[in-house]
Symmetry: C2
Subunit: 379 residues, 2 copies
C-alpha cells in the first residue's frame, strides 16, 4: 500500500489565520495547498503553492479555483456552495460537504436541524423582521441572531427587556431563549470517509464582555466527568447526524442545572481549538487535514493542561500593527505566541493568539492573565 | 517596548529540510524569510516570501541575496563566507558569524581549535595527501576525514588496518584515532546577542551501519547525570569559546571509560534535534530563529521521552518518491511524520523523519523499531 497524500492538491476557500495554521501543519506532509481569498495580502499568501485573489461568494471564481484541486475545504463558511456542489458532482472531494456548509450558513436552518434531530438546544422562535421580534416580547430575555452572515460577534444581539427591542434585526433572524448558563464549553469532533470518529477533550471558553469573542480558553474544561462525557456524546451525535466529513467545533452551554445545550457549530478549525497545536497529541489543524484528505484520524488526547488567549487589536488603535511585550512573554516557559501575518490592526481584530502550558491549573490561570496583561497589539 | 521582529527579514542560505522546518516555526512570528538555494525545486521554495535560485558558494550571488535581508543565517555550512564577511562589515547581522562558518567548513581547523582551546577531542594527525596517510600506518585504527566539503557520510573513511589504507584521501585531510566509544551523544546549545546560553538535554544517536547517517535517536540519552552534565558543560564551552551566536549541535563520544570527546559540530539546526519539534518545550528550529533574531531564548526542557527515525530513500530505488506504510504509522498515538518536500528519492537520501513520543522508554524503543519497519520510501 502506498499512501501518497503528497500527490494530491488541497484547495482551501479562505486564506486567513485558520488556513495559515492548516498550512503550517500540512508542510510536514508535503501537501500542495492552493488558496482562494479576496484579500491580496491574505495571511496564507506567501506560504502556499498557489494563491488566487478572488471572491469566495462568486460562483465562477470558486468553480474555476476548484478545477485545479483534488480536495476542496473551507476555513470560513461564507462561500459559494452552489459552485462547491457542482465541483462535488464532477468528482472533486469537497469536505465539509456543500449542503452542510449551506445549512450552517443559516443559523435558522441550523437551529431547526437540532430540533428535528433531537439535539439539545435552547428554545427559539424564527422571526422574519424587526416587527416579528417586537411581537414576541413575552419571549424575552432572548438573543436575537441574524440568520445569515453573522460572524465573530456581528449579527448577535442580546435583548433582555422590551427596552432593548430596537436592537432587533430587520432581516430573517431567530430569537433564542437567553440561557442562564454556568459554563460555555466546546468540543471539536472529527470524522473521515472511512467512518472514524474522534473528539478532542472539552474546553472551557471565557468571552470578552463586549466584543463577543473568546478571551480566554482553558483545557480541560473544569466540569464533571459525566458532563464531559455527555458533551462529547452530543458533539459526536451532531457530526454523525450531519453525516459530515471534516472537523466540527460544537459550542455548548452547560446550564446551572447541568444540562447541555448546543449553541452553534463551525465546520472547520475553530478558535476553541488553537491550544491543540502545543497541548494535544494531534492539533485541530492536522486533524482537519487528516479528515478531509482521507488520512487516519490522529489521537487528540491532551498532553498537558493549557490556556489560550486571543490577541485582539487594542481598542483605540488602527494602523501598522506593533506587538508590545513580546520579549517578556517569550521568556516564560510554555508560552507560545502565534501571530497571524496581518500588517494592519483594528480594534478587536484577531491578530494572533497565545497558548500557555502548565501542569498546575491555578498556575495556568495566573500565567494566562499575566500574558494577557503583557502582550498588547497597538499601532 | 515594542519588539517587532516581524518587521525584519531573515535570509537563509540553503532551502532544504532544515530551512523548511525553520520556516514552519517562523510562520508563528510573521517573520519574512528569503531563501537562496541552487535547486529550483528546493523544499523551501513555495513557503518563503522570496526564493532566489543561485549558488551558495558564489560571492556575488550570496552578496546580492544578502542585500535585501536584515539578518542572514545558514542551514548548510558550504557557503561563500567572504560574501558573508562583507555583508557583516556593511552592517548586516550574520549569525553564525562568517569566521565560525569558515572554521567549521574545514575539519582540520576545527580539530586544531579544540586542541588549542583545551576542548576534549580524539587525538589526530593532519595529513596533506594519501602519501602522508600511508606514512602514518602506526596511528591505525583511525578515521580519515577530508578537511573540506565532507557531508552526510561523504568524506569520512574508517581505516582499521594497513589493508584499508588505499581508501585514504588524496587531499588535505586528518587522521583521527578511532574511538572505542560506548555511546554517541549530541547536545544542541544556543546563544544570542544578549549573551543568554541554553542547552537542550543530551540525546543518544544510533548510526546506520553503512550509510554513516543517524538511523535512530533517543532523548534523553541513557547516560548518568554526571556524564549528562559534563556533556552540557563541554557543549557550552565550545559555543562560548567560539563566541558564536545561533545554535550549535555538538556531537560527542562517550568512551567506555566515561570520558567525553567532541567529535564534530554543526552551527545550525541538526538531525540530532528533529525530535524537539514535538518533544521539547521549544524546538531547535524555533531556538535557532530566536538566537539569530535577537529574541530571548526559549525553554528547551524535554516534555516527554522521544525517539527519531530518519526516513532514508530505500536502497535500490531512484525516482518519484512513494511513501509506503504511512497510514499504518499515522494511526499510532504520538507518531509524527515529517516529509521534506523532495519529489525524487535516491538510495539513502534524507526524505523525511518520524518522531515518536512515549512515556515508557522500553515501549518507545519498540515503537521506533516498528515505525522503521512500517515506513519505506520507494519509487
Amino acid at each position: 500500500m502506498q499512501d501518497n497524500y503528497q500527490q494530491k492538491t488541497l484547495g482551501i476557500l479562505g486564506g486567513g489565520q485558520l488556513g495559515r495554521m492548516v498550512i503550517q501543519s500540512a508542510i510536514s506532509y508535503n501537501i500542495d495547498i492552493h488558496i482562494l481569498d479576496p484579500d491580496a495580502n491574505a495571511p496564507c499568501k506567501h506560504i502556499c503553492q498557489a494563491f488566487t485573489q478572488g471572491k469566495l461568494t462568486d460562483y465562477d471564481t470558486v468553480y474555476q479555483f476548484g478545477q485545479n484541486c483534488d480536495i476542496i475545504t473551507i476555513e470560513i463558511e461564507n462561500v459559494n456552495t452552489d459552485a462547491l456542489e457542482q465541483l462535488a458532482k464532477e468528482g472533486k472531494k469537497v469536505f465539509p460537504q456543500p449542503h452542510i456548509i449551506k445549512l450552517i450558513q443559516d443559523k435558522r436552518e441550523q437551529k431547526q436541524f437540532y430540533k428535528e434531530q433531537g439535539i439539545p438546544t435552547a428554545d427559539f422562535i424564527l422571526t422574519d423582521n424587526k416587527e416579528a421580534v417586537l411581537a414576541n416580547a413575552d419571549f424575552l430575555p432572548a438573543v436575537n441572531k441574524l440568520g445569515k452572515e453573522g460572524y465573530d460577534g456581528r449579527g448577535v444581539q442580546v435583548v433582555r427587556t422590551a427596552a432593548d427591542l430596537d436592537k432587533a434585526f430587520e432581516a430573517p433572524s431567530l430569537m433564542e431563549k437567553l440561557v442562564d448558563f454556568d459554563k460555555e464549553i466546546a468540543v471539536i469532533v472529527s470524522r473521515n470517509e472511512q467512518g472514524e470518529l474522534d473528539a478532542f477533550p472539552p474546553v472551557e471558553c471565557a468571552f470578552h464582555p463586549t466584543a463577543n469573542l473568546v478571551e480566554f480558553l482553558f483545557a480541560p474544561a473544569q466540569i464533571s466527568d459525566a458532563i464531559s462525557e455527555e458533551a462529547i456524546q452530543v458533539a459526536k451525535e451532531v457530526i454523525t447526524k450531519l453525516d459530515m466529513i471534516g472537523i466540527l467545533a460544537v459550542e455548548m452551554f452547560v446550564t446551572k442545572e447541568g444540562e447541555i445545550l448546543v449553541n452553534e457549530v463551525a465546520p472547520r478549525p475553530h478558535n476553541s481549538g488553537h491550544h491543540t497545536i502545543e497541548a494535544n497529541f494531534t492539533s485541530q489543524f492536522e486533524q482537519h487535514l487528516r479528515a478531509v484528505m482521507g488520512m487516519p484520524l490522529g489521537n487528540s488526547e491532551l498532553r498537558m493542561p493549557a490556556a489560550m488567549v486571543n490577541l485582539l487589536g487594542e481598542d483605540g488603535f488602527t494602523g501598522d500593527a506593533l506587538v508590545e511585550g513580546m520579549d517578556e512573554a517569550m521568556q516564560e516557559k510554555g508560552v507560545y505566541i502565534h501571530l497571524y501575518g496581518k500588517k494592519i490592526t483594528k480594534p478587536f481584530r484577531k491578530m494572533g493568539h497565545v497558548t500557555i502550558l502548565e501542569e498546575n491549573v491555578e498556575a495556568l490561570k495566573a500565567k494566562a492573565l499575566k500574558v494577557k496583561e503583557i502582550i498588547k497589539i497597538k499601532a
